[in-house]
């Protein structure tokens, strides 16, 4: 009954026009907004020399997996439209070029200089529009940490732990520790959703929201836990192990001493 109503509503030509109009309006508006953000962002503008340089670097270092024109192969995804942010994150944290296949590509010493990374980003962003490297004002630590904490706990903490200490996922995958990660890399990860992380686009978490989250993480990093030694912030596992080994061990030792005769 109910289903039929919806189907009828869907078949109505007026509904189709409405949906298309709404879609066009939002997509167009969003695109205009995105391009406006790119043109405003200082780091979003690359020179033609950088694109040429990046194209050369890409052919020698990335094309074997991502294809000669970044169209993707069986070994690596297409990079068309991933934007400069994805390149800056993947190359800037050393995850790319990938070292070995496995459940997850690991962070490792960075393989390219800052200039080379920027050139690669310039090349990839020249292929199709995508998220750009964030403006500096969004990677500051001056955001609202309370609000950032709330947003972090709702959107991020289930995988990354309430204070960003990281956590396990399925079959060998894991959400990495966020301590010591550069603010711009945290921002880029949210925008692009690297590996198995979902995407948190600007419609979900606005740049201000992202900045608040970064401010929260940096605040937690700078201020020791009020509760004392954090034991890796891993919660009951680490704390329980400490209690079982040292506290219970101490109680057993004292009990033995109580019952032993004096010499």
């Amino acid at each position: 009954m109910f289903k039929r109503k919806i189907n009828n509503a869907r078949r109505n030509p007026f509904a189709a026009i409405l949906v298309i109009a709404a879609g066009l309006l939002v997509a167009g508006g969003g695109y205009a907004g995105a391009t406006a953000a790119v043109s405003h962002s200082t780091s979003g503008a690359y020179t033609a020399d950088q694109v040429t340089e990046g194209s050369k670097l890409f052919l020698t270092n990335c094309a074997s997996c991502h294809g000669k024109h970044a169209e993707g192969t069986n070994y690596g995804p297409s990079l068309i439209g991933v934007g400069a942010a994805a390149v800056d994150f993947q190359v800037g944290t050393g995850r790319m070029p990938g070292q070995a296949s496995g459940p997850q590509l690991m962070k490792k010493p960075v393989q390219f200089t800052t200039e080379q990374t920027a050139a690669l980003a310039a090349y990839v962003s020249s292929l199709a529009p995508g998220p750009s490297v964030p403006d500096e004002r969004w990677t500051s630590t001056s955001g609202n940490t309370t609000r950032g904490g709330e947003l972090f706990r709702i959107n991020c903490a289930m995988c990354h732990n309430a204070v960003g200490a990281g956590g396990a996922l399925t079959e060998g995958k894991f959400a990495p520790v966020l301590k010591g990660v550069e603010a711009k890399h945290i921002y880029e990860a949210m925008v692009t959703g690297p590996q198995n992380m979902p995407v948190f686009n600007d419609a979900n978490l606005t740049p201000q929201d992202k900045n608040d989250i970064i401010s929260y993480l940096k605040y937690m990093e700078a201020n020791p836990s009020a509760g004392g030694e954090e034991l890796g912030s891993l919660g009951p596992v680490a704390e329980g192990l400490f209690l079982w080994l040292f506290v219970l061990g101490g109680i057993v030792a004292i009990t033995i001493w109580l019952g032993a005769k004096s010499n």
Partner: protein, 346 residues
Amino acid sequence: MSSKGKDLVTGHDAEHEYEAGLAVVAPDAIKDPGLEPHRVRMTDKSEKHAKNAERQVTAMFLASIVGSAFALWAYFAFPLSPTDLGTVRSNTLFLGLGITLGLFGIGVGAVHWAKTLMPDAEVSEARHQTRGSEETRARAIEIIDLANQESGFSRRKLIRRTLYGALAFFPLPGIIIFGDLGPNPADSLKHTMWRKGTRLTRDPYGTPIKATDVTLGSVFHVIPEGLNESDHKLEEKAKAAVLLVRVEPEILKESDERKGWSYDGIVAYSKICTHVGCPVALYEQHTHHLLCPCHQSTFDLTNACAVVFGPASRPLPQLPITVDAEGYLVAQSDFTEPVGPSFWER
């Protein structure tokens, strides 16, 4: 094993008679060793050791005084500041260490004192029998009989029976009152705040979500519109929390019945685990698996959130969604099954 077996005496051989032929009786394998010979302590042998022990006990008690004084000092030296949570750390740490030393010093000192300097002659005391003497038992029965005669409890049947009746009825008001403690859950476990046309909004601020906001690979943590204004916000949120994900429409395996429940690859599932109700929100973008952090139940988002691993026994309930005239995502109805863990009437 065989040498032990020889010592065992079976029920058939023993002089005792047992009703069951399988009973096995073993004589005491270990003889009661009695008290071990008294060992003279060093502190009893030499005055020097006794003096030493005395000094040790004194040192423990002095350490206790130092600990208590330190705790007092620490309490004032590391004041709590209402604006700086970090001050709690030093305050509780040093206060606690001081108090610990204060109490621990007294305890260790006292035990050491008792063990080294107080008399250590072994004393054994036989246990009393639990059974009273014949005399006491006879007297007790006498008293009960006397009470029975004087009250006429056995003789006056009417009184006795009405008293039984009164005692049986007395707890009834209490039972009825206790039965009414707390609200009856009724069918509140089967319904959530979602209605036809309720907009999907972002957790925690309640801003509505357009279908176009949800790009491929995006995850939105969703609450129903109006949740923040509802009277029982937390109770409602615990039932109505939803996870919104967009995947390529062609990878969704949808049954005919649920064909119209997603919108262009956007699917909404209850965030409450069907195992014991933890929030299932660990979404892997490429495997499309949803993982529950508590007991690792894993759900396949592309296959109606069927359980692929872990202790959960039922798929996560799906919220049927569509878009309204303004392009915002709205619910088509409430969940069509109860969310969260199983319960008795489910």
